[in-house]
């Protein structure tokens, strides 16, 4: 559809937009050099500092595993337990801010100037933002999270000796009331996958898109801070922001790649009896990285977009299959009921202070918020890259509301079927299975298990590839000072580097989990960053002609 139109020459001047006039010339800090036969065009010093500090951290974790493990897990629990109120409160602000943009006249501002036309069709656009944004989590938590909250809600509240609740149930639980426990469990899950994470992504994406397309600043995280720091943003403040973003993105991708390989391995073992072990996992990471490599070398349109569309097609196929093969009517009425439950429980779930369900609000919500926020520079920047030509209102509706609805549907179908299996048929295999096998145990009870489980495995792998390739493009752009036409070897380097870091961490005992704790801890500084971005977006939009 409109994908084709962009190669028909430059559109006429794209209507009014408020260019920010700065002395900074994009690429002025870049070094163009030749290493061996390969040309490079990299930002000085962001490229080097990011690369070296990543290597240093990997070495630190390998050399002093215990010390690093202790430090990072202390940091992690300090952040998620000490700042739960901050995460939960900030999350609410992001959602309200996005909803406000939809209803105010600011929603009319178009990204890329008043007359810009969209770069991608709805299908391609949506496939890409969804594949980058949620990815693998849906595969692993779709069955397990509703189940966990349902079980803990059924169990009721337990108060320990010190008067603090020790159960993991959300809110006041629903002891013994099966129907209400399902509703509460679903609402508590949807809360983590619905409006809030997408609002976080939307804020970052909107800030970057606005400051690049409308204000003419380079497509890199620091640009969103121009209204706050002015031209100082091209100096050390900006370097720190960009390096932190690269850091969070690369370690976020590498650690999930490592864990994902472990989980995919378990699935392959269950299905085909492929042995579980480091060899298989290293092979899996290599395969995933190789496919991602092909994808980045084929480019945004020929690789990333195509894979995202395949990914969405497969996910849709699986969703529709489970919907039809499972108790269709119960799922559909469930969908409406759970949506309602979400709306009903949302105010209570999002209260930042005085929570009694500490395990739920700190162990789940606060963890998730830190996690989503640590991913937001990557996902946000990728969404920004593909969203030119959309109006702010259209953008927020499509990045916030539609993905949220899709997540509600996904959770209702996968979690709903698994819970029905327990409640109706007394089939508890999915409930009892370890995290990585829950999906497959649930599929076991439906017809055509062999085919659907195979699709499940393929989806797990493709979801990883679509995160890995878009992540490499994002890191490449940041470390090239916002240039999107840097030489190919650079994106190849980041893609391979990410796979290599994942393999090294996988082979070291505890390396993966301790570094993941560290990545999630970066969610704290980025929450401040996101709050500042809201303000920057507001100011930026006010200056645009509506």
């Amino acid at each position: 559809m409109s994908d084709e139109s962009t190669n028909q020459g430059i559109p006429e001047p794209e209507g009014h937009s408020e260019i920010i006039d700065t002395e900074y010339e994009i690429g002025q800090d870049n070094i163009e050099t030749q290493i061996g036969p390969f040309g490079l065009d990299i930002h000085n010093p962001v490229f080097l500092i990011s690369g070296l500090s990543i290597i240093a951290f990997v070495f630190y974790t390998l050399a002093l595993p215990e010390q690093a493990g202790n430090l990072f897990s202390w940091l992690f629990s300090f952040v998620t337990k000490g700042f739960d109120w901050f995460f939960i409160g900030a999350g609410n602000i992001f959602v309200l801010f996005c909803l406000l943009l939809i209803v105010t006249p600011l929603g009319k501002v178009r990204l890329g100037g008043a007359d810009a036309t969209p770069d991608y069709s709805y299908v391609g656009w949506f496939a890409m933002l969804f594949a980058a944004g949620m990815g693998i989590g849906l595969m692993f938590y779709g069955v397990s999270e509703p189940m966990s909250h349902f079980s803990s809600s059924m169990g009721g509240t337990v108060v320990g000796e010190d008067g603090v609740r020790t159960d993991w149930a959300p809110l006041g639980a629903a002891a013994g009331d099966q129907h209400e426990a399902i509703r509460l469990g679903m609402a508590a899950t949807i809360y983590h996958w619905g409006l809030h994470p997408w609002a976080m992504y939307a804020v970052v994406a909107l800030a970057l898109a606005l400051f690049s397309y409308n204000k003419g600043l380079p497509l890199t995280i620091r640009s969103a801070f121009y209204p706050i720091f002015g031209d100082r943003v091209w100096g050390w403040i900006g370097h720190v922001i960009d390096v932190l973003a690269v850091f969070a993105t690369l370690f976020g991708l590498a650690t999930s790649l490592g864990f994902g390989a472990t989980q995919a391995n378990a699935g392959l073992n269950e299905l085909f009896g492929i042995p579980v072990g480091e060899t298989t996992e290293v092979i899996l990471i290599t395969v995933i990285t190789s496919i991602a490599l092909i994808s980045v070398v084929r480019g945004l349109d020929g690789g990333v977009k195509v894979l995202s569309e395949i990914n969405m097609g497969l996910a849709l196929l699986l969703l529709v299959f489970v919907l039809i093969a499972g108790p269709t009517l119960a799922i559909l009425t469930g969908f409406a009921d759970y949506l309602l439950a979400y709306v009903e429980y949302l105010p209570a779930l999002s209260v930042p202070f005085g929570r009694e369900d500490v395990n739920y609000s700190q162990g789940w919500t606060s963890f998730y918020w830190a996690w989503w926020i640590s991913w937001s520079p990557f996902v946000g920047m990728f969404i920004a890259r593909v969203s030119r030509g959309r109006s702010v209102r259209e953008f927020v509706v499509c990045v916030l509301l539609i993905p949220s609805l899709v997540c509600v549907l996904w959770m209702s179908v996968f979690g709903g079927v698994a819970i029905q299996q327990v409640v109706q048929d007394g089939y508890t295999a999915a409930q009892d299975a370890p995290l990585e096998l829950k999906l497959f145990k649930m599929l076991d009870m439906l017809p055509m298990t062999g085919i659907t489980s195979f699709i499940g495995i393929v989806l797990v792998i493709v979801f990883f590839v679509t995160s890995s390739d878009s992540g490499s493009l994002v890191i490449d752009t940041i470390t090239a000072g916002g240039k999107v036409d840097a030489p190919v070897p650079q994106r190849v380097f980041w893609c391979v580097f990410e796979g290599a870091v994942a393999i090294v961490l996988l082979l070291s005992a505890g390396g993966l989990s301790s570094l993941q704790s560290m990545v999630i801890s970066t969610g704290l500084p980025f929450t401040v960053v996101l709050l500042l971005m809201c303000w920057a977006i507001w100011r930026g939009l006010m200056a645009e002609r509506r």
């Binding site: 190669n7 380079p218 890259r385 999107v484 036409d485 070897p489």
Partner: protein
């Protein structure tokens, strides 16, 4: 012999275009052909403009300067690509086709080791374009 000569230009590396610009102008005069300077940009802000429209203006100015310098008829055409690193060749060939080019004059570097992995743009265009292609080295 030729009526429309397309000259792909990378305005960020204008210094490397010298030979190709001169030889294309000579050919244009020889055959009374029109030159179209073709540039590819991304929609992102870059060194050459905050947005595609600014880039197009720069390219137009470049074409006008070349026309005055060599005394040839020249025009400019700017193309937007989502991912110029990868899609450059494809975008160039499509645009050359669209303007009805019968000759493409293209600057290129002397092939090195890296060209076995990623062929130069000149090399790829020469292998795949329907028009005649002159690759100017160095």
């Amino acid at each position: 012999m030729f009526t429309t000569i397309v000259v792909p230009v990378d305005l960020a590396h204008e210094d490397k275009l010298g030979k190709a610009l001169t030889v294309s102008a000579d050919l244009a005069k020889q055959y009374g052909a029109k030159i179209i300077y073709l540039g590819v940009t991304s929609a992102m802000p870059g060194k050459l403009g905050h947005n595609p429209a600014e880039y197009a203006e720069k390219l137009q100015a470049f074409a006008a300067a070349q026309a005055a310098k060599f005394g040839v008829t020249a025009d400019a055409k700017a193309e937007v690509s989502h991912d110029p690193t990868i899609d450059l060749d494809k975008t160039l060939m499509k645009a050359a086709d669209a303007v009805g080019a019968d000759l493409i004059v293209m600057a290129s570097h002397v092939p090195g080791l890296a060209d076995y992995i990623w062929p130069s743009n000149g090399g790829t265009v020469a292998s795949h374009s329907k028009a005649s292609v002159m690759v100017v080295r160095g």
